[in-house]
């Protein structure tokens, strides 16, 4: 009786160990691992999160598949980096002219506590009309950030408020949802616009085959 239960526990423990190994394999080497985790963002098709755009529509990574995408993180209470990034992106989109319409351009807030749908709508309204603002529950934002292999952190300020440290790079994906490259903060327009064209042309190359 006693030895049977010990055996039982042993079998259960082996089972758990086996499952853990299997899950580990699945995630690291198996089909559960779409790309090796080298710090690069996952393909959009491997991400899972549910957010709301600034017009109240439900959106997620699937929304972005089918056209090349430019995605970045920020928050509307950000006085320096975020308006600069949004203004830079508006400039790149102007440089693309009519081609900008082929692109998904998404600003995901890392501060859903203050950035609700209305705040996002008002804010993105000041920049290029192609820019969409996404927000949602903190936990869903966290999932998105994780998929992009980005980070964010709430930091108190001297004024008693808080600010957010966050990844400021702009992520580019092709029409299939595959990560192409990032445009880093302050990268000159001479580099940014060709990178955008590259992400867009990868879509054309796909279409041609």
């Amino acid at each position: 009786m006693q030895s049977r239960s010990v055996l039982g526990y042993g079998a259960a423990a082996l089972g758990v160990l086996g499952l853990a190994l299997f899950v580990g394999w699945w995630q690291v080497d198996g089909p559960g691992a779409p790309v090796p985790d080298d710090g690069r963002p996952l393909p959009l098709t491997a991400m899972e999160f549910d957010l709301t755009d600034h017009e109240g529509r439900p959106v997620g990574p699937d929304t972005l598949v089918g056209a090349p995408s430019m995605v970045f993180f920020g928050f509307t209470y950000c006085p320096d980096v975020c308006p600069t990034t949004l203004a830079d992106i508006s400039g790149w989109l102007d440089a693309l002219g009519g081609d900008a319409e082929q692109l998904n351009v998404v600003f995901i807030t890392v501060d859903p506590e203050r950035d609700n749908v209305d705040a996002m709508a008002e804010y993105v309204g000041y920049f290029h009309q192609a820019i969409r603002g996404w927000t949602g529950p903190e936990q869903q934002i966290a999932l998105a950030v994780e998929g992009f292999r980005a980070t964010y952190e709430k930091v108190p300020t001297d004024s008693g408020d808080y600010t957010m440290n966050h990844t400021a790079s702009v992520f580019l994906f092709d029409a299939e949802g595959r990560f192409v490259t990032t445009i880093d903060y302050h990268e000159p327009r001479e580099f940014a616009v060709p990178k955008l064209r590259r992400a867009m042309n990868e879509k054309d190359a796909e279409g041609a085959t």
Binding site: T84, Y123, F127
Partner: protein, 154 residues
């Protein structure tokens, strides 16, 4: 735009320079190309940018900011690390060597305007006073540009 700023600058500094002509250091500070972005209401902090030039032959130390626009103006520095993560923190005192210009620009130093007392409206200006360790001050009239402005010429 540039001409206007220069003109405003010199007019504002004239009485100050006359009054403190004996004082070295901060009396030789010239602020140029100041600009700020408009705000949405007053709940979000604003930021202002400028070039601070030390035209004298002694180092000067910028110790703080003052403006009626914001209860808590503070010199901040944004830093972006190798992972592309941006963060922002008080920059402390800024020493400007003789002949040097310190640029406050997006992604670097900025005048962080916390607790706005009124919205920053595009087309308006506000006075920003820079205070120095020798007791001197320089006030510049900062033009407020659009929210999507990228520099003083926008």
């Amino acid at each position: 735009m540039k001409y206007t700023i220069h003109a405003t600058c010199s007019v504002l500094m004239l009485p100050f320079m006359l009054a403190t002509s004996a004082m070295a250091g901060s009396a030789d500070v010239v602020v140029e190309n100041a600009w700020a972005r408009a705000s949405i209401g007053t709940s979000r902090p604003g930021a202002a940018y400028m070039e601070v030039h030390n035209a004298g032959d002694e180092p000067v130390t910028l110790t703080g900011l003052r403006t009626d626009l914001a209860m808590m103006p503070e010199v901040h520095r944004t830093a972006t690390d190798e992972q592309g993560v941006s963060s922002m923190s008080p920059a402390g005192q800024i020493v400007i060597a003789p002949g040097e210009t310190v640029a406050f620009e997006p992604g670097g130093l900025h005048a962080m305007l916390m607790q706005l007392q009124r919205p920053m409206e595009e087309g308006e200006t506000f006075p920003l006073t820079l205070t120095f360790s020798d007791g001197g001050e320089t006030t510049v009239e900062v033009p407020i540009l659009g929210i999507a402005a990228r520099g003083p010429e926008d």
